[in-house]
């Protein structure tokens, strides 16, 4: 429901689009394709230009209803249908690398007594859901679903609003960085199958 002055939200929405279009060529080279933009919604498809042939990896649907009295809603969607993806359908969960942690083992796995140090590299996903069937939300300040989540009641939108945390390009930059840039190539799995080949049956 639009409760903020619709003229204000619309003007701010149009500013987002105008700025995007000013640099539209730059963004297209990165693999961003603006598919739909009609207040209050925007749909952008993100492709990996590194791959040959390039792959359309995900769509991102924004809803700028009540902007910027409220932050935009952001969903990862199927770029062809616009349908939100469930967690199990995500191409990737936008992992962010955590700082390396040193783990000290007093008895290494080989069974030889002694002390061994192991470096652990963890990752934290920006896309969060309670289960594989749920539609994940982008766990990031500047996103409506983040600020509406009860776990983030101490980090209100008003703390981020003035810094442009909900701006279209800023959110696309982050999704691109964690969801598209880490793509380095196509993976191929070949599963060999053996069977017996027969010639024509004897008369």
């Amino acid at each position: 429901m639009q409760y903020a002055d619709p003229n204000v939200s619309r003007r701010k929405f149009e500013r987002e689009l105008a700025e995007y279009r000013t640099l539209g060529g730059e963004y297209r080279r990165r693999g961003w394709f603006l598919i739909e933009a009609e207040f209050p919604k925007v749909l952008v498809a993100l492709a990996s230009a590194k791959l040959k042939p390039p792959a359309l990896v995900m769509g991102v649907a924004f809803d700028y209803t009540n902007y910027d009295a409220a932050p935009p809603s952001v969903r990862i969607v199927d770029p062809f249908t616009g349908e939100p993806l469930k967690h199990k359908e995500l191409p990737n969960p936008l992992n962010r690398a955590l700082p390396q942690q040193e783990l000290t083992l007093s008895m290494p796995a080989g069974g030889v007594p002694g002390v061994q140090k192991v470096m652990l590299q963890g990752a934290q996903p920006y896309l969060q859901a309670y289960g594989p069937e749920e539609i994940p939300f982008l766990c990031l300040a500047g996103v409506r679903e983040y600020h509406e989540h009860p776990a983030h009641s101490g980090d209100v939108w008003e703390l981020h609003r003035a810094s442009g945390a909900g701006r279209l390009v800023r959110l696309l930059e982050i999704i691109h960085r964690y969801g598209i840039e880490p793509i380095v190539g196509m993976g191929v799995q070949l599963i060999p199958q053996f069977n017996i080949n027969y010639g024509p049956p004897p008369p």
Partner: protein, 88 residues
């Protein structure tokens, strides 16, 4: 004629998607141009350390290095975006 010979370089710093023209000086560190761009765009809500600058190829730029070391041309576009933060 490019102004690089005078030590001045005209950069376009794109702050959260908003292009801001900046006259930068080769001898100054990049963070001075970044801070100018934040000031001109009215982005005073977050300190500079919460922002990240990248070039057009997506490389993160070290804001402590002198602008001249990057060999930018006039009109080079740099992208200054609010960092993602810890999330989760």
């Amino acid at each position: 004629m490019a102004k690089e010979k005078d030590g001045d370089i005209d950069l376009i710093i794109v702050v959260n998607g908003q292009p801001i023209p900046i006259e930068a000086h080769a001898q100054e560190p990049l963070h001075t141009a970044a801070q100018q761009a934040l000031n001109k765009s009215g982005n005073s809500g977050q300190p500079l350390q919460n922002w990240e600058m990248r070039d057009g190829a997506g490389n993160v730029l070290d804001l402590t290095r002198k602008i001249g070391e990057f060999h930018f041309h006039d009109g080079t576009k740099l992208f200054l975006n609010l960092k993602a933060g810890v999330g989760g």
